[in-house]
Amino acid sequence: MPKLTIDGVEVEVEPGITVLQACETAGVEIPRFCYHERLSIAGNCRMCLVEMEKSPKPVASCAMPVADGMVILTHSEMAVKARRGVMEFLLINHPLDCPICDQGGECDLQDQALFYGFDRTRFEEPKRSVEEKDFGPLIQTFMTRCIHCTRCVRFATEIAGVEELGLTGRGEDVEIDTYVEKALGSELSGNMIDLCPVGALTSKPYAFTARSWELGKTESVDALDAVGSAIRVDSRDGEVMRILPRLNEAVNEEWISDKTRFAYDGLRRQRLDRPYVRRDGKLEEASWDEAFAAIAGQLEDAPGQRIAAIAGDLADCESMLALKDLMAALGSANTDCRQDGARIEAGRRAGYIFNTTIAGIEQADACLLIGTNARFEAPLINARLRKRYLAGGFSVGFVGPEVDLTYRAERLGAGPKTLGEIAEGEHPFARVLDHASHPMLIIGQGALARPDGAQVLATARAIAEETGMIADGWNGFNVLHLAAARVGGLDIGFVPGEGGLDVAAILEAASSGGLDAVYLLGADEIDMAGLADTFVIYQGHNGDAGAEAADVILPGAAYTEKDATYVNTEGRVQYTRLAVFPPGEAREDWKIVRALSGVLGQTLAYDDIGALRARMAEVNRIFAAPDEAQPAEWGAFGTPGEMDPAPFAYPVENFYMTDPITRASVTMAKCTELARSVNKDKTGTDG
């Protein structure tokens, strides 16, 4: 390993790294604008110049590989003078508009100008100004501020896989631009805002609403898809002002999807901020006592089997367990968390989680996607697949409708017929999987949420077992979920108990008068028509389909407003944290269930979240080990049998609107409109 001297201290570093990285391991920070450890090296900002012995000129440390015996001076007169010169040039055309710039206070250029900037300019000519670009409803451009580091171009090209941004012109005329002016067609575009070291790309929805130093920062996890990205919720005066990614190498690295980042305005709109009770066919405001009394009146004489509960996609584990316990106390086994009707059993954990883990994708060398458009269903898992693809030697095949995944993937067929052929070893892709040392498959809800889902699942299991996906230290079988609540619900056992009804049976029983009450825990994506004649209790935070159908509304808390447990698609137990309080009369969800249990005379045995979490760990020991993806034991799951030849369909048609929060978001509505119009231009049809 090469040894080099950095500022008089000898360090030994990994061969092949750059001088800048070596300096970092030695604890010396080098200023930079264009260099980013997850992007290719551009070496064009020149801010990272250091002095190197035997070199007559300073060298760009980000692009200089280490060699044995190098002597580097990072803060010598020469290095500092060189950086001052670079900074002076960078500031020549940079406007001095920090007071009205949204990046102010968290700007790399501002910070570094403090150390290397000059307090006046020697440039007497007019500064250049650059036309603004239209990058769509998410990114605001102030291109005059751009210092041409090209991080955004490299991000779009490398990580997002959408080659639409480029650096056009040259010299003083250089600009970041798209070829034909249009919004960026990426689900990860918001990350460019974080990458931009200046205020050239800023968040449009957040524009001029807050300063970074006024914000309270809460570390949490996202609940808008099943990835469970690490996020930081920035809030002020009891409102979420913005959401940023937080580093979690195992899950989202340092990216988040545009839905995760920009849907927060949905947390302020159409909120259920007080209980409602339906009187004479009209929902009227009520107090908690009145709401609970209405429920108690309805449930008083109802036998257990005539009550049912459905948990939605955003439900947290605490409230699901509390509700399950309450239903059990009331004598009901009619509980289900699979509101899309996915044929997944709760028993065998390996049969419903993403066993490979997201980081594990990087070890795989072949991948079969079954009925899943990962780009819309889990953009960060798709980004990881693309990362693996770019590293080379990764064959991807998919079964389902034609789709652009941002990397080369072979379409193997439309549905179960092709899947059967792969399982039988008759399809050429079966050989690809056979020959791979670490093959994996991802099965999506498009293949499982159909009447023959259990058979499709069994076929996928057969493929996994026959192509060597299950081996010592490797499990290549993965289920990709859409809902943050789903794995947690299955872990809790929020599924029909002995003789209980599942979602389809609950809806059928309700429409034929077989049920006295249905409890919807944030369930909005079911067919409400079936519940028209039944007493519906809706507990949730946004007024959506469920609230409309409800007879009693219990206002709950969104994922940013409670300390709650979510389990991501890998089976990783993670906690959200309360960043702001629920609005008005709304309360944390498990507390609502607990309070209701008291009114119903079935008081649950936990009084605080500690006791409830202890109960969770008792129900399933995985809850005792947060933040880890625990390997699940392999075994039988699915039901072998005939599959329906109907082709798979992808479950997420509109990436931007998948749940009550995103459906209430204006930003997401703008994105949806734009995506529709782009689609229309492309195909000549709507959608």
């Binding site: 056009t168 040259r170 798209t178 070829y179 034909v180």
Partner: protein, 212 residues
């Protein structure tokens, strides 16, 4: 100078579709064949040049898109190349593109006078095209012929050792539809010294250095 501007989104409709002629398609195939497999993108500049020549000296958006698709490149990557090099034109140009070098050596030798002569003779200013579509006048950075400064480039030919009068005469010939002889306009042989040979005058062999 203003920066490159985006082609209008509907530029494709205005300019009509673009495709290589049969002869150019064969040539394009040959050019691409010069590069290794999977490195076809290396042919982007010769193909853009081919497309530009076929299209009367400029590249409409459909031509840029055509070359990009031909090489399997994202459109933006080709557009970057087109905007980087001043030799690619994104707007229509005259049949004769008069490019006047005004970089320091040419300027020291009188390029200002040459430029004025161009303006006067052609009746157009920089970055303009004459009404008859015959001439476009542009200013360029060093074109690498400083030893024969001042220099102008007209289409593929260099005209060297110019002054105001010689430039006007040159352009008058072009206006008449004749083609002036490229190279030095003073009769100098290539880049030989202006005031005649100063070395290697005798026909004898070079003598060894004396006194060693």
């Amino acid at each position: 100078m203003s920066g490159p501007t985006n082609p209008p989104a509907n530029g494709a409709d205005e300019a009509g579709p673009f495709a290589f002629t049969k002869a150019n398609a064969a040539l394009a195939e040959e050019i691409v064949g010069r590069y290794p497999e999977d490195r076809e993108a290396s042919a982007v500049m010769p193909l853009l040049d081919l497309a530009q020549r076929q299209n009367g000296g400029w590249l409409p958006p459909p031509a840029v898109a055509y070359v990009a698709d031909y090489l399997g490149m994202p459109h933006i990557r080709v557009y970057e190349v087109v905007t980087f090099y001043s030799m690619f034109n994104l707007k229509p140009v005259g049949r004769n593109q008069v490019k006047v070098c005004t970089t320091t050596p040419c300027w020291l030798c009188g390029s200002a006078e040459v430029l004025d002569a161009c303006r006067e003779t052609l009746g157009i200013d920089l970055d303009e095209t004459s009404e008859d579509g015959e001439f476009t006048l542009t200013e360029v950075e060093c074109i690498g012929a400083c030893v024969n400064a001042p220099v102008i480039q007209i289409n593929d030919d260099y005209y060297e050792d110019l002054d105001g009068a010689r430039t006007a005469a040159l352009l008058d010939l072009l206006k008449k539809g004749e083609k002036p002889k490229p190279g030095s306009q003073t009769g100098r042989q290539c880049s030989a010294p202006v005031k005649g040979l100063a070395t290697l005058i005798s026909s004898g062999k070079m003598k060894g250095r004396e006194g060693d």
